[in-house]
Amino acid sequence: MITKNTAGGTLSAGFISKLQSTANNPRIRFVHNGTSYDEYVISVSQIHRNGTLSTGTTIVKLSNADQSWNNFVDTVATELGKTASVSLYFEGDTEYMPLVTGIVNRVVYNDPNITIYISDRFATMLEFPLGSGQSPKDYYTAGPYNTADLIWDILTTMGGLDSTASSANTDIDYDKWLLLKNALASSSVKARFTGHSIQSALRSIAAQYDADIWVDNAGKFNFMISNMVLVFNTMSTSDFISLDLEVTKEGMINDYSVYFDFDIANDAFLSTPYTLENASSIAAYGRKAVTVEDRTCWHTTSESARQAVSYAGNYGLPRKWFIVTAPFYHLRAQIGDYIRITEAHKGISAEAALIKEITIDLNRGITIIKAVN
């Protein structure tokens, strides 16, 4: 749930009340390099985020009739790369809720307008290579590490992000990271990166836990693993414009094996894999097996492998994907929140689902939430 305003304070009850009203007067604020240019905004594209660190782009179309935006031509080297954000406020208020925060990485002049492309400010950092084949990035001589500590070191030491170990961290949502670390208390991992980008390294680590890592609406790195934070948005037919549901065996796993205790010198795992089977699911749906043999980032203990398996999906049951189209009422929903859905026509009663993707369409006044049970 988005709880902070752009000033870093807590969103007021009055703001939330207006957001959740059936009639309101929203306004769009566009800030570039610390100055607001609301009156220039013609349109804002869809804002999309998911948990796989895909650095989405938000496109803002502005009027350049008075040539205010020609500075991108004059001083291109300094203007491109400055911060930009889109936020929402209500007529007469001075409180703003951030919707997207990033940097300008491209502008296109379509006279008399200008189109500005905002991407996550970490997009360049995520391409940074960790080590190389000749000189691997060594997370195996020392350690083992809590998986969250490994992620932290990759982001701060290698990625150069703020390493302040408190809520004051400007690049990482420290509170969420701490919850992740506590959730993964049993983890014990080592790693050896041979030129993997930070993005691919983080993705492969997250995939082991079916965890999500993303850059949030305020421009901070965020983390989520199932059951880490239990925030529930109760939704019924008054809360959504439409509700689509897909029930699929895709993503279902009922036989999961993870190798652990890797020996670099011999290029071999020294232990038999940790395995978990769901016999009744195998009988009902057939065997859907996954074997993880990760020589880049591996568990050093059976308990660490067990914990990863417990998160990563011995679901044993088909997955239910909910696609909820909601009005602005649910604009505060975040990846990692749960929604509890009731809808009589499909016989859905208080089903909990974890939000994995969010798309905000300001032009249509809607929030599209993709969540999985």
Binding site: T22, A23, N24, N25, P26, R27, I28, E39, A65, D66, E91, S236, T237, S238, D239, F240, I241, S242, L243, P327, F328, Y329, E343, N363, R364, G365, I366
Partner: protein
Amino acid sequence: MAGTQKMKVGATTVTLSGMTGYARPDDNNRIINTAMDGTLYISDFGGKERYDIPCALSTTDGKQVNTWWSAMNTIIFFYDFDASASASINTRIINPTRPMEKWFPTGWDTSTSKYKGTIILRQV
């Protein structure tokens, strides 16, 4: 039809006396969504004033309006000058093509109006 209206940029003013066809249409950016149970959600992103003003002007005023259109000037618009000489909004002329065209009055027309057109003003 409105009474006297005025357009002003700097010290230059043009006085308009509305003709048949004067309109003040809505220009609201409003989104309406209906939830599955029928609950109505309305978000109004802000209405702006718009005035469609057919008029006939002197050569000096007609050229001035075209100059403002060409320069995309912000125009202070006194929308009801008879009632209030100070109530105004900032506008721009949003005609897609030049608003005032030169015309030739009929022989019995003794007015000095040599330019004619419909000015579309939009609050900025």
